[in-house]
């Protein structure tokens, strides 16, 4: 059996991972554009059922006029 684990006042320091600098800024820039895509998709999903409802309403009124 092998055991490991050393009590150390600086233990929390082990949790660090370097987030980079240029890479982090690029991630933030990318997040902005992906965020725009998020809103665009939300908007597209919002108008889509209304578009479908409008089309079915048109189809119903066409049927009645025959």
């Amino acid at each position: 059996m092998t055991a490991f684990g050393v009590p150390n006042p600086g233990l929390l320091a082990l949790f660090y991972a370097d987030p980079g600098s240029g890479a982090l800024l690029w991630q933030l820039i990318g997040s902005f554009f992906i965020g725009l895509l998020f809103y665009f998709r939300r908007f597209a999903a919002w108008i889509s059922p209304r578009g479908g409802h409008k089309r079915s309403q048109d189809a119903l009124s066409n049927e009645k006029s025959r």
């Binding site: 987030p19 980079g20 240029g22």
Partner: protein, 451 residues
């Protein structure tokens, strides 16, 4: 294998234990199982190791042979990257994340990647669209894969002594001006390099947590993980060749009859003795590793050529073979690395005395001629590596391949002959049986370690 977890790590451990994604992957064998120890034996162990009472002890499965990224072919690095992304993606929906993303969090059980850093899982701020481990993932998975694909820089050349992999600036400097502007280098090396100076100018403000709507943050993170996965798959779809990958076809060392006699000799021994664990030194295509795995052995297969080892890994993964193929030159094996050379033990520390059997087929002449290792030293190493069996191929200096690699310096090995070999062998082993291949200067020896 027992791990002690101290109070600062307990929230992460709780997140790990509560995660459905972790449970699902653990059931598939891709996350190391962790059992909390709370019995009397655990309390005694804490006393023995002078651990505080509030430390928690976890028991883990002991993986048979730990290996490190500098011993992996690129295919294994890509598999480790995919597992990391599987975890990161699955944890997102549970409000969790990975606080780091490095191949040192992964070990291999045969050809299966296993995530072992149980404290890497942490609760995620729901509104934060930034994955803080993203840059580490790029440095330690993506950029080394890109460097292999475009510059033939193997993982052993990246990770030995460089735990943090390759920076965007490193890869940017290696690239031509045109290549810098093309994907994937454009997004993962060039633009981060260009932005690096601007980001330094922003100072600590750059690292402040962001706050977005939770569903937007999740959408951004999920998109980012998907594009990383796409990048790993597009970079990882390589089938490199090397000097050795087609060598057996272009420079055959055996006739069909000789090959058949050699295979029969090896198969007979495997069928009789069925070693549980086997080290194949200089495995080349891995043909004999596959034979050993088929006979029930857990195999570690070594070769210095990353392209060959990568092909063997793909075969082992596709056919579910119990083979762990590693890029190791037994003449220059991986050193101990990390802080005070104590974090990652050397290959020989991990390997000596760990195998029931060692194969050294068609490798002795390379060690003696190219690597200039004396015969006695090779046999001493073999005796240290194996607990019992050694199957070694003696190649006489009259052999055509031997003559080719000695390059006109035959006098250096003029005194090497079969009887001298047998005499040297019997310092550490006893000869069980031998077979000279038909019409050949090559003899197989089956040996057992002397008590």
């Amino acid at each position: 294998m027992v791990r002690a977890v101290f109070p600062p790590g307990l929230p992460n451990l709780q997140a790990f234990q509560a995660s459905a994604t972790v449970r699902r992957l653990a059931d598939l064998g891709h996350v190391i199982p962790a059992e909390v120890l709370e019995d009397t034996a655990a309390r005694e162990l804490k006393r023995e190791l002078s651990l505080p009472d509030d430390a928690l002890l976890l028991r883990h499965e002991r993986l048979e042979f730990p290996s490190y990224p500098y011993e992996w072919p690129p295919e294994m690095l890509a598999a480790a990257a995919e597992l990391t992304l599987d975890l990161a993606e699955g944890l997102l929906d549970e409000g969790l994340g990975l606080k780091d993303a490095t191949p040192f969090n992964i070990l291999f059980r045969g050809s299966d990647a296993v995530f072992v850093d149980v404290l890497s899982v942490e609760p995620r701020a729901p509104g934060d669209p930034v994955w803080r481990a993203y840059a580490q993932f790029v440095r330690t998975f993506l950029l080394p894969l890109i460097a292999y694909k475009h510059f033939r820089l193997a993982p052993d050349q990246v990770f030995t002594g460089r735990r943090e992999g390759l920076s965007p600036e490193d890869v940017y400097r290696m690239s031509s001006p045109l290549r810098r502007l093309l994907p994937p280098l454009l997004g993962y090396a060039t633009i981060p390099t260009w932005l690096s100076a601007r980001s330094e100018a922003r100072g600590p403000q750059l690292y402040q947590p962001r706050h977005e709507a939770p569903d937007k943050a999740r959408f951004v993170l999920a998109s980012r993980i998907r594009s990383l996965r796409k990048a790993v798959r597009s970079i990882g779809g390589f089938s490199p060749s090397s000097h050795w990958t087609g060598y057996a076809e272009t420079h055959p060392s055996y006739t069909r009859e000789q090959e058949s006699a050699k295979k029969d000799f090896v198969r007979r021994w495997l069928a009789e003795d069925r070693p549980h664990s086997l080290l194949d030194v200089g495995c080349n295509t891995g043909a004999y590793s596959v034979e050993a795995a088929a006979a029930g052995a857990r195999v570690v297969a070594l070769d210095a050529d990353a392209a060959l080892v990568g092909r063997l890994y793909r075969r082992a993964a596709a056919q579910n073979l119990t083979i762990l193929p590693l890029v190791v030159n037994i003449a220059q094996p991986s050193p101990a690395t990390g802080w005070r050379n104590q974090e990652c033990p050397s290959f020989l520390e991990r390997a000596c005395g760990q195998f029931d059997a060692v194969l050294m087929l068609a490798v002795l002449h390379h060690l003696m001629v190219t690597e200039r290792v004396p015969l006695d030293s090779v046999l001493d190493l073999a005796a240290d590596l194996t607990r019992d069996w050694l199957l070694i191929e003696f190649i006489s200096p009259q052999d055509p391949m031997f003559r080719r690699i000695v390059r006109g310096r035959e006098e250096l090995h003029a005194d090497l002959d079969r009887s001298g070999f047998e005499q040297a062998v019997q310092r550490r082993f006893r000869i069980v049986r031998s077979l000279t291949l038909p019409a050949s200067e090559r003899t197989l020896f089956l040996l057992r370690r002397a008590a």
